[in-house]
Symmetry: C2
Subunit: 135 residues, 2 copies
DNA sequence: GAGGAGTGTATAAGAATCTTAATTAAGTTG
DNA sequence: CAACTTAATTAAGATTCTTATACACTCCTC
């Protein structure tokens, strides 16, 4: 029933979500990641340690707080995220290719409203307004 | 980045997905569940044992093959699925309530095309055409 | 219709990933 | 500056997955 998104290249669901978050929103503290990913801060510490060992993210000191750590995605990590986005785009293109132009037009017309719904959702969930750095 | 759907009432992602599948498509064999959930057959056997112990599903012999087991959702399991659907509907209603009638109309107009895309996706993935028993 | 290959399920053992709890260090506040 | 709070780490244990194996049944072929 559910669609199991990730598990690419032996990376777990949460791990891939962290990479996407970092690639889309820039460096984050471990505590920020823990709250956005809905796992404990301990789990994030352990995951980041593995990701760092694999060269997909790096830890940097936070200049504004010497207790804190900023996690950022590396070029290798970014490449994985971009590859996954390309795969998804290709897959969606394959599906929309089977639709009629009229059907595609109805979907395109709904996108602004869907984007607004997503914004409303983030606002109601009390999530901070983070711009998406995606290119 | 990803949206972590389940984890309601201590039930895992895969567990809830199985309940939804059974509630939507009726009794299934363990092997069928394993392939639709994208986990090993062993994992499904273990999960169903726990779900059965919790009274959410039941095992029945498959009259057409004495090796096989048919798993069906119980009334208690169905109640969980229905409760989750109600929660989701309420949440979506809250979001669409923030849209203008015109925005809602564009989304409604896109639904047939989106349903078709989903069908195309199942077909390309080689999934059997299973009617949804959802009421 | 007997033997062998294939299929469906179960179980055991181990790996991966999560949680809770305790620890250390740094910031905050009266 | 003492007490409290916050950020991260580490250790220990729980959960849920995988791989490997076993066993029963089905199906096919000669």
């Amino acid at each position: 029933m559910f669609i199991r998104l990730p598990a690419v290249q032996r990376l777990s669901f949460t791990t891939l979500s962290v990479l996407h978050t970092l690639a889309g929103q820039g460096p984050k503290r471990l505590t920020e990641l823990a709250s956005s990913e809905q796992v404990t801060q301990s789990a994030i510490t352990q995951m980041v340690t593995k990701l760092e060992r694999d060269g997909l993210v790096e830890r940097r000191p936070d200049p504004s707080d010497r207790r804190a750590v900023l996690v950022d995605v590396t070029a290798a990590g970014t490449a994985i995220v971009h590859g996954r986005r390309a795969d998804r785009r290709a897959h969606l293109a394959e599906l929309t290719g089977e639709l009629t132009p009229a059907e595609r037009a109805t979907i395109a017309a709904a996108l602004p409203a869907l984007a607004r719904m997503s914004e409303v959702n983030r606002r109601l969930a009390g999530e901070p307004d983070v711009p998406d750095r995606r290119r």
